[in-house]
Subunit: 352 residues, 3 copies
């Protein structure tokens, strides 16, 4: 599918610098583009590639235009504009409405005739599938699951009892939404399982990554609000609420009963405790750990970055001896006739 | 299903304060309960909600009873009592014994007639399924798998060759038990795969979370003892043994050949090295890392909690300059005519 | 299957000390071996077990031979030799060529007649399956997937559009290769999905663990080179390239557009940032975090190991008060009439 630069400029509201008749057939990176490819520049890290690219044209912002020798589509948000152009050039495969004969559909499931249910899917009683929904191979939908219009379950998605998924939400393979939360009451001789009688409500325009798990609520529902984006291998505990448009990178875990605000950005491999709340517009660096509530918007971190191992282990050894530093300071302060420092550190030292 | 407060008090050994005829239809949180709901108070964090709840009754302990204005079921362990009441009010769907016609069962598999095998399940030769077992949709059981009575494989559980699962154990969707362990012998030009000839033995009354993986043993079996509770997205390496009633939260990884004691509680996102052992009754804080064996019961941690990012990065910078602090102390000690501190820190400083 | 020690010595190039007629039927650990078992010693941690083992013979290196009282197969790399012997004693189940009747194969898929496609597998248009490939139960191969000879998809592996898997590569259950990468462009009111038009190329002799996810490239392909070994529950972001023979332990996440060198060894639960590169022959300790590129071979770490909790929290409190240490040092330096230390630490202190 080829589109002219002129048509792209008009359709996506860009300023075109170059020949409007140039045909664009595909997208490419700046480094690998050819004369039929459109590239983009959003991350300044790659600005150096602008001089040498062979792209037919580049989508970029006004500040970067000076360094570009090819045709350009100039706009304020080149990454979003690129995304829309790529969606035009690479349309999704059209739905093939109907239910594959190998799918197993319980009596009483309601499937909109415009929806597609693929091979090997299993739909239980009371499932409701809206218009233009795609249910990929090996998906399993337990009783009472409801899918709003245009939901896409790419493949092998498991939805537990009564889970509801909002319109246009995309769920990647292997995700499990609505498994029992981790609820066990301690007793003298082990644990008693706490029935998990809530479910999961996922809003519209959400994306859920591969092999990510979202547990059903213990009593009330676990809630993922509209526009939330979850990467792969994320764990969301029971009763969690994630606010609209928050994005969370892979391998992060959110423990039960925690509330996360709107428009947060949480890095990968972050660990968030249970029963806390995080305000709107919070950024958390990758590999951080959040033990207490965060009440103010802003950027937060608790990450260390690797050093060469011998340097690192020496730093750790010194960290573990930090009480000795305090003792040496006190000895010096006494020798110098200085009043002991009146700060938390000195006070704390004296109690150790 | 409605049950009277009086019946609940008798059946679960609670002291009832209120009208025994009150009908309980469902459970609810203190915040959302109505006049037909039973709530509970176990976490003191929520005690403030007791004054305003509209619950028909609350399960709580004697110490909390004074703050409660509704009917009460008073008992020593309100969380466990609540769990049992909820199980009564929300009984599991009854089994539908038999094998769904779309399931694929190899000749020679033995399935108890009281068991249910759902759509799309695949059972290989030599599989043995005990009484009242539930095998959910898309489960795959390789040769020689044995399921004891009342096992529940919720959906899409994959069990490798010869894996044995104890009575009443529940496995959530996406779990993989008995994949090959990560065993590769280094050679000059790469790795040689080490055959993983052991299997996995899971005891009774275990729960295994969604998308959790437990590798088969390299030679001997990997062993999960009775009553162990594993959350979602946990990795258990080959030859690991986890002691009875230990509970592990999500995203934690236990490397190969490590032994974990009984009744441990391990937080989420913990990393445990291979070839070590952890004593009984050990608590490990979330996001900690365990590199060496732990020989004594107790609580352990190595977690940092987020700070505002500019504060955090300054702390990290200071941490990395900690050698300079030592040098400044030595200079001061010399100037003050103090004998150098005779501690590990000072000695270590002098060798850097 | 029994093999004589003499045959093993000849076939695998070991020096035999003992009776060549001794029959070996199985492998065992040093601790659990009996008179028909072969054990091995590779990890010096287990050397103490050599004196008491009842094994028929032990595979070990010359340095360990003195401590062994049983028959021996002496060689330079006992772990690799053990691996090869175990593969001989425990041959893989032979393929049963053909397509199971419950598998769903689209018109136009090409399956080599020597390949085996198991129950419940779903193969889309344009899939190409090479000789002796094993496609386990519940695997799902989207359009254009290509599997080179001798690939093994153990069970329930999901391969996205156009994913190519190299010869002899083994993929464990639950792995998802080729789901959409985590690409969203921020806009004023949320996120725009960036089409992920690249795919994934996996080289030959790779192993991919259970429930591991490898995202398709945003534009160019994500690439896993030959001989790479990935453990369970690993997340590989879009456009990542992992160099040949690199091994990565479980629960590790590699963010998008990062390049990892050849022969690296990355521990479990490591977090690697996006858009960086790691040199060849880099070792990274488990639970470390890599925020910046690593340009030189060597060992790197940023791990803390657990302490008893009360000790740990005191260390953390002191760490957070480290600015106060600097202030006390400056006060002492002034009192002693010492010129302020001219180092980064002192300079930094003065600006706080």
């Amino acid at each position: 599918m080829a589109v002219s630069l002129g048509e792209l400029a008009v359709r996506f509201g860009c300023e075109l610098r170059g020949d409007p008749a140039t045909a664009i057939e595909r997208v490419a990176t700046l480094a690998h583009a050819d004369a039929h490819s459109l590239a983009f520049l959003a991350n300044p890290r790659y600005r150096g590639q602008l001089a040498d690219t062979r792209a037919a044209a580049v989508v970029l912002n006004p500040a970067s235009a000076a360094g570009c020798r090819t045709a350009m589509l100039v706009c304020d948000n080149p990454y979003a504009t690129y995304a829309r152009i790529a969606a035009l050039l690479y349309p999704a495969a059209p739905l093939v409405p109907g239910v594959h004969p190998s799918a197993v559909v319980a009596a009483g499931a309601r499937i909109d005739p415009s929806a597609q249910v693929c091979a090997g899917a299993v739909l239980a009683q009371g499932v409701v599938i809206g218009p233009r929904v795609f249910v990929g191979p090996h998906c399993s939908l337990d009783r009472g699951v409801q899918l709003e219009p245009d939901v896409q379950l790419v493949a092998r998605v498991t939805l537990g009892r009564d889970v509801r998924i909002g319109a246009r939400t995309v769920i990647q393979p292997g995700a499990v939404i609505g498994a029992d939360g981790f609820g066990f009451a301690p007793e003298r001789h082990g644990w008693v399982k706490v029935p998990q009688v809530g479910s999961v409500r996922v809003g519209p325009d959400v994306e859920i990554g591969a092999n990510t798990t979202i547990d059903r609520g213990a009593i009330d529902d676990t809630v993922i609000e509209e526009g939330v984006k979850l990467d792969n291998l994320i764990q969301i505990g029971h009763n969690v609420r994630i606010g609209a448009h928050t994005a969370i990178a892979g391998c992060t875990g959110i423990s039960g009963s925690t509330t996360i605000g709107r428009r947060c950005m949480i890095g990968g491999a972050v660990n968030v405790n249970g029963h806390i709340s995080i305000a709107d517009d919070v950024l958390i660096a990758g590999a951080s750990s959040v033990s207490r509530s965060i009440t103010r918007a802003g950027a937060y971190a608790s990450t260390f970055t690797v050093e060469e191992a011998h340097t690192w282990w020496r730093l750790v050894a010194r960290f573990k001896r930090s009480a000795a530093l305090g003792a040496r300071l006190r000895r010096l302060e006494r020798a110098a006739g200085l009043k002991p420092a009146d700060d938390a550190d000195a006070r704390n030292d004296q109690h150790e």
